[in-house]
């Protein structure tokens, strides 16, 4: 095969074929290009050299290449992209060691790339195409033989070039990944028994998460009534085991009392609601204190402060005032500000110490309302006082991160695992949490029924206004063509069948009705006459969570009813039929 090639090379010698020229130039090249090489970093220079070398057309244009090249170092880069197809041929006869590298590539892949490159680089003459096909065949059959033979022939003293840039532009050839290398067959089951960090990377691999587009139907999620009804009839299969866990924990109550007595504070953690434990413990502590000197034999009772941190809106002030109510005599008027109140309390505790440390039982110290900035430090200052005993529970798994070393040493916590497996019935509003998690806040009003209930209690204008809003929103979602998705992505966008990337913010902002527009519509419909009355109507909707308002990218306020389009349609029907 090699022989054939060589012979043909000789045959062509008289014609001014590009290849011949190239060969000659290649011989000259080292000398001629020296200035160029000096100018550019070696590798790049070589690349340019090759680029120019391998582009017969450009060489033909400037026959006086030898003189010209030094003077025109410009536009070298552009040539890389201008590379015509022929260059592709060149790399095999040229015998640059590239081929050695590529020798193991399959023939199929090579021919594929060749075809691809030709189509990419535009039309070639038939002759060239034929030429190429010949060569292609040769390649496929004799690539290996060529590789060993070629370098001697051309004897271009070129160092190995990792890549022949004339072949193609930057980056891997399009489709080479898909066509060339057969994709690894991905196993349907994920690997098991990975170490935790590997598992993290496995699950976070790019494109790794392919989830289906299934959605939960609106009926399948339970509302409050249904949930409680279902839960009432439910019997936990592990009731006995949970009781046993509780019994285990309850054996430690006396120990905890001793620990509190020694000036430590206690923090309980672990899975499951720990309210029952704190409740039982409080009862035990109460009886324990009742048997002690200041209370024994008297009518006086010890006061234990209980704080439910999980209740939304619990503030440090609530805590401090409750503590204050236990230790301060009735006549005093403590300061209002939390910081001042705390100072006052600590001062009072130090100057007139109570007969025993004041026990504070705090459920869920890591609840969102108690996490905010000044609260933990104030709480720590309170807890660090020797006349305060704090027993608290923490539900989240990473609660120790809430405290730095300073706070931690102030709290003086002893930690106890108090896993109960009991449901967080009081701590969590299950239905509400799930709705929020699934972005169905519209269900908060209680769905269509809830809206009807609210609307019935409102004046006629309000119903009318709401109808306008719903209709506007519906028409917006219907009229917006899919092509204008960028400007006004339709409501259908929320179903995953269309584009995935629609952030909620954008959604609400774009699907909602502009505030101004709604106002004018309302005025036109004689729903209201002034913006004041309009606002007062809207306020009612806000308060019941029937509408949401957001600013879009332009800063325009938009209002929308937080329902999906099918629900909106039902709502519009109801409104139109005058059901409400």
């Amino acid at each position: 095969m090699v022989g054939t090639k060589r012979r043909r090379d000789q045959d062509d010698a008289d014609e001014l074929t590009p290849r011949k020229l190239r060969a000659r130039i290649a011989d000259d090249a080292p000398d001629e290009l020296e200035p160029l090489e000096a100018q550019t970093p070696s590798r790049k220079g070589r690349a340019q050299h090759l680029a120019e070398n391998g582009t017969p057309r450009s060489i033909l244009k400037k026959t006086g290449w030898a003189n010209g090249v030094a003077a025109t170092p410009k536009s070298t880069r552009k040539l890389v992209f201008e590379t015509p197809t022929k260059s592709a041929k060149r790399d095999s006869p040229d015998g640059t060691p590239t081929i050695v590298r590529n020798a193991d590539r399959s023939a199929r892949r090579k021919s594929n790339r060749r075809i691809l490159e030709r189509t990419l680089n535009g039309a070639d003459s038939d002759e060239e195409a034929l030429d190429e096909e010949d060569e292609l065949a040769e390649h496929i059959l004799g690539a290996d033989a060529e590789d060993t033979d070629q370098p001697g022939e051309d004897a271009v003293p070129e160092p190995p070039v990792p890549e022949t840039p004339s072949k193609r532009g930057r980056g891997r050839p399009k489709g080479s990944g898909k066509v060339g290398r057969p994709r690894k067959q991905r196993s349907p089951t994920p690997p098991t028994e990975l170490p935790p960090h590997e598992e993290y990377f496995w699950q976070n691999r790019p494109g790794g998460t392919k989830t289906s587009n299934n959605t939960l139907s609106a009926q399948s999620l339970l509302n409050h009534d249904e949930y409680f009804q279902a839960m009432q009839s439910y019997q936990d299969g592990h009731a006995a085991e949970m009781d046993f866990l509780l019994e285990l924990h309850s054996r430690a109550y006396d120990q905890w009392i001793f620990e509190l007595d020694q000036g430590f504070n206690i923090c309980l953690y672990g899975y499951g609601s720990k309210r029952i434990i704190t409740e039982q413990f409080t009862a035990r502590l109460y009886r324990h204190l009742l048997d002690r000197p200041p209370y024994k034999g008297t009518k006086k009772t010890p006061s234990i402060v209980i704080i439910n941190g999980y209740t939304a809106g619990t503030t440090i002030k609530d805590i401090l005032t409750t503590v204050a109510s236990t230790i301060l005599p009735a006549g005093l008027k403590p300061p209002n500000q939390p910081t001042a109140l705390l100072d006052y309390l600590l001062e009072h505790l130090s100057s007139t110490p109570p007969p025993h440390p004041i026990p504070i039982v705090l459920n869920s110290i890591d609840s969102p309302s108690l996490r905010k900035s000044p609260t933990p430090s104030l709480l720590a200052r309170l807890a660090t006082h020797p006349n305060i005993n704090l027993l608290c529970t923490a539900d989240t798994p990473h609660f120790p991160l809430l405290w730095d070393t300073g706070l931690k040493s102030q709290y003086r916590f002893l930690f106890h695992d108090a896993t109960t497996f009991l449901p967080y019935t009081t701590e969590i509003d299950t239905v509400e949490t799930v709705n929020e998690l699934l972005d169905r806040s519209g269900r908060r009003v209680g769905g269509r029924d809830g809206i009807g209930f609210v609307l019935r209690s409102l004046p006629e204008q309000a119903r009318e206004l709401f109808r306008i809003l719903v209709l506007e929103q519906l028409s917006l979602s219907l009229t917006t063509p899919a092509g204008e998705a960028e400007a006004e992505p339709s409501d259908a966008d929320r179903t995953p069948s269309t584009k995935k990337k629609s952030s909620r913010h954008k959604l609400v902002a774009t699907q909602g009705v502009e505030y101004r527009v709604l106002y004018h519509k309302a005025v036109e419909a004689f729903v209201c006459t002034s913006e004041v009355s309009f606002r007062s109507l809207m306020k009612e909707f806000y308060d019941h969570g029937m509408i949401e308002s957001l600013k879009d990218g332009m800063g325009v306020e938009r209002l929308c009813v937080p329902f999906r389009s099918e629900e909106l349609e039902g709502l519009a029907e109801d409104l139109g039929a005058g059901v409400f």
Partner: protein, 665 residues
């Protein structure tokens, strides 16, 4: 009640007090608890006193210096000052102990008739708040809400316009009344203050310096250079600084350890493992000294609370104090068994029989052994101190802290260790000038547990040294050796020769050798492995178990374990897998655990609809009428995961949630 935010506990009306204490089993582990706690209190009271003394003593010198600096700054009140006197207190990286330091400092500063205010970065986000806080703290005025302030007649309204509540005029007024020698403002964590705020504060204080005698204290965790870099040159010109180095917390810990754990006057010893653990925790988490003390206290508490035979540590205990339970407990101790076996090996079967059957005999033996065990442990601690002070006196390198020497001694590793050998070797070579030092420092440690006859050595040395000026050397000293090279038949022979010792040197060598031998026997006798002692469980507390969990909890691990393998906690038979396959999810597991385990397998984005169908397939029974119940469980599980912070809503796709935690990371 459960939805109320805060309330005072009220016992339920119908309370059956009958079932308060029903113990069916005969053995009551808490039977002698009050007495044990009594012992605990007396033992701990001693330790606490030592801790307090150590802490007070540790930084008293530094505090004294700072107080002197403050009083020097305020000594000439009429003199015009051009810069604010400033103390840069380099308190070290252990931020947790800064609070205590400034608190103690404050007590002393206030005694010197100065106003003392500590400001932390947390309460001073900007200049206005800083000033408000400052004024509030200086004038100790109880400030009410802003609304009230409008109505309240301001004190200065008579003299002119009402002052704003961040006007230092308030302080000036207060100063006129109280005539404090100086107003000391301590910025506890100066690194955390905004640099701009510091500059503003300094500028402002400087401009008031002619009216208010400010003294600034900066608490530094890094270095004074770093502090200077943060301030502009202009502000630096307003400060007249002096640097004070506070004793770093690890040195205080060392002292505390010496005073408490390695002390020769304790009734309950801390074991080497626990001690090492506590020190490591200190080092790894840069905790305050308070945490170390807490750890120690908890060890004492655990020992007396949980261990029944710890009652035997009571001073002057008599046979009638001890119940049969305690003897049973003693007979079950591992060290008792070892001892009995040893006794049997000695062929004293009758003694063993008595031990096992006769409580009175056992009591005698136990009280004897408690005495001797105490003695052994105390002399062990003392030997560690002796070794540490020997190394210190002859300045051996590397310096090994007492804590590590003690820990090695208490774990029985020290006897015959390289550390001892090395020390003994250098004692052999000790020149007389160093020996004088060494003897002097050892004299301080002389006592019941260290009864080498130092005095005679000292006497003989003194009489020897009277006649000589140069330090005497022993025969082992290398300087007395010389190498001699001889060429015999073209071969080089190296031979070591002792230089002829002078009369004095020889006498001195005798003293040193005698001293060395005595020390060696002393170390050999006192460096025992405390764990081999009979009753070591009573004399020493070295349990890892409650201590680690209580101080270094792993809440995340606990929750992940509870959810991933619920039977670890529940101990039920039903949840450990299906048909022998432990990996399979069984339907009997708690709903949250099922959902969590599916959650573990999923990617970052979870389709709730699919999750629900998977859950329904496992936990549901396929019938339609039970589906609401399954759904309710599913919703509850989902809500719990959200509550625990394991998932959060995702906006990427409808009905998807995203995963936020990976197990085991």
């Amino acid at each position: 009640m459960e939805h109320q935010r805060c309330y005072i506990y009220q016992p339920p009306e119908t309370e059956e007090r009958a079932n308060k204490r029903q113990r069916t089993s005969k053995f009551d582990p808490q039977s002698r608890l009050p007495e044990r706690l009594q012992i605990y209190r007396s033992v701990w009271a001693q330790q606490e006193e030592r801790i307090q003394n150590t802490l007070e003593g540790a930084d008293s010198a530094t505090q004294e210096n700072i107080v002197n600096f403050i009083s020097a700054a305020s000594s000439s009140p009429d003199e015009q000052k051009f810069a604010i006197p400033t103390a840069l207190i380099v308190a070290g990286p252990s931020i947790a102990s800064h609070g205590h330091f400034f608190e103690r400092l404050g007590r002393r500063v206030r005694d010197a008739n100065s106003a003392y205010i500590v400001l932390t970065s947390g309460e001073c986000p900007n200049l206005k708040t800083l000033l408000k806080n400052l004024i509030k703290k200086v004038t100790s005025r109880v400030e009410d809400d802003d609304e009230d302030e409008i109505d309240r007649p301001s004190t200065s309204s008579r003299h002119g316009p009402k002052l704003l509540n961040y006007d230092l005029g308030h302080v000036e007024e207060w100063q006129k009344k109280h005539r404090a020698a100086s107003i000391v403002v301590a910025l506890q964590d100066s690194e955390a203050f905004d640099a701009g705020l510091l500059v503003d504060t300094i500028d402002l204080f400087h401009s008031w310096l002619d009216r208010l005698p400010f003294v600034l204290l900066f608490g530094l965790a890094t270095s004074a250079e770093n502090f200077e870099e943060r301030l502009a040159g202009n502000s630096l010109r307003f400060l007249e600084g002096q640097k004070f180095d506070v004793i770093q917390s690890d040195e205080i810990i060392e002292k505390l350890l010496h005073a408490t754990v390695a002390s020769t006057d304790v009734r309950l010893h801390i074991g080497s493992n626990l001690c090492r653990r506590m020190l490591d925790r200190q080092k790894d988490h840069v905790q305050s000294t308070q945490d170390f003390c807490d750890g120690l206290k908890y060890a004492y508490m655990s020992h007396f609370y949980a261990s029944v035979p710890s009652l035997l540590l009571k001073e002057g205990i008599t046979f009638s104090d001890v119940t049969a339970d305690i003897f049973e407990a003693v007979r079950n101790l591992p060290s008792f068994r070892r001892w009995v076996e040893d006794t049997l090996d000695d062929g004293r079967a009758q003694d063993v029989r008595n031990l096992l059957e006769d409580n009175e005999y056992l009591f005698d033996q136990v009280s004897q052994h408690i005495q001797s065990g105490q003695q052994a442990l105390l002399s062990l601690s003392h030997a560690a101190s002796v070794l540490a002070s020997i190394r210190q006196a002859i300045q051996m390198s590397p310096t090994v802290r007492l804590s590590s020497i003690w820990i090695r001694a208490a774990s029985g590793e020290l006897s015959g260790s390289p550390l001892i050998r090395e020390t003994m070797l250098s004692i052999k070579k000790i020149p007389s000038d160093k020996l004088v030092h060494l003897l002097a420092s050892l004299r301080e440690l002389e006592g019941n547990y260290f009864s080498i006859d130092l005095a005679s050595s000292q006497q003989r040395l003194d009489s020897l040294l009277k006649n000589t000026d140069t330090p005497l050397r022993t025969q082992h000293d290398v300087r007395n050796d010389s190498l001699r090279t001889t060429v015999v038949a073209q071969k080089v022979l190296l031979s070591k020769h002792k230089a002829a010792l002078s009369e004095q040197d020889r006498a001195y060598s005798d003293i040193v050798t005698e001293f060395h031998d005595r020390l060696e026997t002393y170390f050999a006798s006192s460096l025992v492995d405390p764990r081999t002692l009979f009753l070591s469980e009573i004399l020493m507390y070295d349990l890892k178990s409650p201590h680690t969990e209580v101080f270094q909890p792993k809440p995340r691990f606990a929750i992940e374990r509870a959810l991933a393998s619920p039977h670890d906690y529940l101990g039920c038979d039903c949840c450990s897998g299906v048909d022998g396959n432990p990996a399979a999810l069984s339907a009997t597991q708690p709903a949250t655990a099922i959902v969590y385990q599916m959650y573990l397998e999923s990617g970052t984005l979870i389709n709730v609809s699919d999750l629900w169908s998977a859950f329904n397939a496992i936990a549901g029974d396929g019938s339609d009428e039970n589906e609401p119940k399954t759904m309710a469980l599913f919703q509850r599980a989902l809500a719990e995961l959200k509550y625990l912070g394991l998932v959060k809503p995702s906006r990427k796709k409808t009905d998807h949630i995203s995963k936020t935690m990976w197990k085991g990371l």
